[in-house]
């Protein structure tokens, strides 16, 4: 249905959406009020009540505790995102505009890696990382994220490049553009939206990842998800800290999401509905 249908919107719709909105915001409300309570004020029986005064110290403490892992996550996520986006872009270019016999088969082989449960590669993965000497470091995590990011980044870029008409490519080729010329001068400059979509997707994926974080790192290279789980996993007494930590850990992705939300949705769609 068109967006511009000028119809009166029934009040029932408003009631429903508002109710849904309230329910969706409950966890945020709970997290925020709990984070802003003085630990002494936190009590299960008054869990829903507003704090008597905002206790900002929670955020300071949580920040100090999460700082090393936040830093790790930032390095890990940015490096991983940039590298996997670059690989995905050139792969996507090949699969979209330079098909060869069997390229579809190779592409399908690629896609397979997108859906595997990561438990199945866990043990061999850390054996390999250990064998090449990067176990426990950020490099190991980056490598894993880049490799397992190839399928989705390739898919998104391929779908993106499919939208560029073949005729443009033909005429560029007639003008003498070679493989790299075509990619470097024509496709790369056109790829900015593609990079944004892939970047957002990979950023959220890598930032939010937990299983490898908890098994493939040591203290000094922990990502923030593991840091947060540690913060929350101890004794469930000072609940203000895990809640404040949740905000800190969720903040970077939320920020990106709020500013680039449109692309985020596009990224989601590219990963699923696009044929």
């Amino acid at each position: 249905m068109s967006q511009n249908t000028l119809r009166r919107v029934s009040p029932i719709v408003y009631v429903m959406v508002l109710a849904a909105m309230v329910i969706f915001l409950v966890p945020i409300y709970m997290a925020l009020i709990t984070a802003l309570k003085n630990p002494a004020e936190i009590n299960l029986a008054t869990a829903w009540n507003l704090p008597s005064y905002p206790y900002w110290q929670s955020f300071v403490e949580a920040y100090n505790m999460l700082l090393p892992s936040l830093r790790n996550s930032l390095v890990l996520t940015i490096t991983g995102t940039v590298l996997s986006a670059l690989v995905g872009s050139i792969n996507g270019f090949v699969f979209s505009k330079n098909r060869f016999r069997g390229s579809e088969v190779v592409f399908t082989l690629f896609l397979f890696g997108m859906f595997i449960p990561y438990q199945i590669i866990l043990i061999p993965l850390f054996q390999l990382l250990r064998a090449i000497g990067i176990y426990g470091s950020l490099y190991g995590l980056i490598l894993a994220h880049v490799v397992y990011g190839i399928p989705i980044t390739t898919l998104i870029f391929r779908n993106f490049y499919d939208q560029i008409p073949d005729s443009i490519v033909e005429s560029a080729r007639l003008d003498g553009a070679g493989f790299f010329g075509l990619y470097g001068r024509l496709f790369l400059p056109l790829s900015v939206p593609g990079f944004v979509v892939v970047g957002i997707w990979q950023f959220t994926q890598i930032w939010n990842e937990f299983l490898w974080g908890v098994t493939l790192t040591k203290q000094s290279s922990q990502p923030v998800t593991v840091g947060l789980a540690q913060l929350a996993g101890g004794q469930a007494v000072n609940w203000n800290l895990p809640m404040a930590g949740s905000f800190l850990a969720g903040f970077p992705v939320l920020l990106i999401y709020i500013f680039f939300g449109r692309y985020f949705i596009r990224g989601l769609l590219a990963g699923s509905v696009k044929e």
Partner: protein, 442 residues
Amino acid sequence: MKKGLTLMITLLLLLPMVSVWAGGQQEGTATAEETETVAVPEVKLDYGKPSGDLEIFSWWAGDEAPALNALIDLYNDNYPQVEVINATVTGGSGVNAKAVLKTRMLGGDPPDSFQVHAGQELIGTWVAAERMLDLTPLFESEGWMDVIPEDLINLIGTENGIWSVPVNVHRSNVMWYIPENLEEWGVEAPQSWDEFLEIAEDLEAQGVTPLSLATNWTVNHLWESVALGVLGADKYDGLWNGELSWTSDEAVEVWATLDEVLEYTNDDFSSLSWQQATDLVVGGDAAFNIMGDWAAGYMSTTLNLEPGSDYSWAASPGTDGVFMFLADSFGFPKGVKNPAATLAWLKTCGSKKGQDTFNPLKGSISARTDSDLSKYNDYSQSAAEDFADNRIVGSLAHGVTANEGFMNDFATVMEMFLNNRNPEQAANAAQAIAIQNGIVSR
């Protein structure tokens, strides 16, 4: 197109095969190497002057952190050139820490020293895997052979060597209560489980939870106290040395008693931490709690209660005169990055000063017989006396009597029991896992 698909599917099927073959090859050579390693490597006593980084891996955070920090401070006073990295992984009873430690050891990146429960947890996992150095020379040169009880040395060692330095001794079979509250409710600490069940009726009538319980592992903890109370020390030991069958009437009786006791616990136990279970007792919602004596550390240090007056204790029902112990210890993994600093750390852990710095804060007692008892609170002094003259048995829930495979499977059996409350079936399952994990021979 069909061809492409067929090719793809063939490739998909073929690749795992190839890697299976490659994997098989690799394993073949590995087993060949295996037979060559025989000698047990010992710790050396001259790694040079300690400096650089020392990574200490433990699960002591939160309430238990001050004790570790005090020990680290003492270490730094003696070895200021060493930068100590305090790597703690939180989570009750070290469950999460053990998983992280394993990936690190498998990943060829051992921390310089790590906390491990003395006994089968260390031996069945890390000694069996030949990942530890024999510390006998260190024990001899530091004179620990004379000050650490022989029973304890036997438990942390095998015929091939001594594998870790115990820093503390905890007691597992302790029942905690608030004397004032008991007076008000008109009950006394029970001497046997039968007595407990009588009192429990009375308490429940007054709206008090007779026994507070917490998350999964604390149920195993309760089990071992019930088992000791029902069986007595000899038969309890019999479960571990194969003299008492897990399917015997007595062993079934343990489960049946546990079943009755569980009727008098808080319903929401699975979602509580052990501290919250202690809080229930302190807050007057529950009468008793059975927990190791780290609960004393929690009540004295975190809650600022006075032992003996604000809170009190007794041996768990039917276990008077028996000290069910567990100990934390630190070992020397093979291939550490900083052996000199590790050696210095172990010396600090085992020293009299180190133990008397650490244990008063932790709520535990020293593993040494020559410790300065004046530094300890009333509870610990009484525990130290008991440790000296009681019959000593090992704890299951904290890794003394059984290896990790058994402990993990036992948690499953317990889960099964909590679901169906069938003592016979639990006893049969326990027998099966005891066989499977080599506790009992077939």
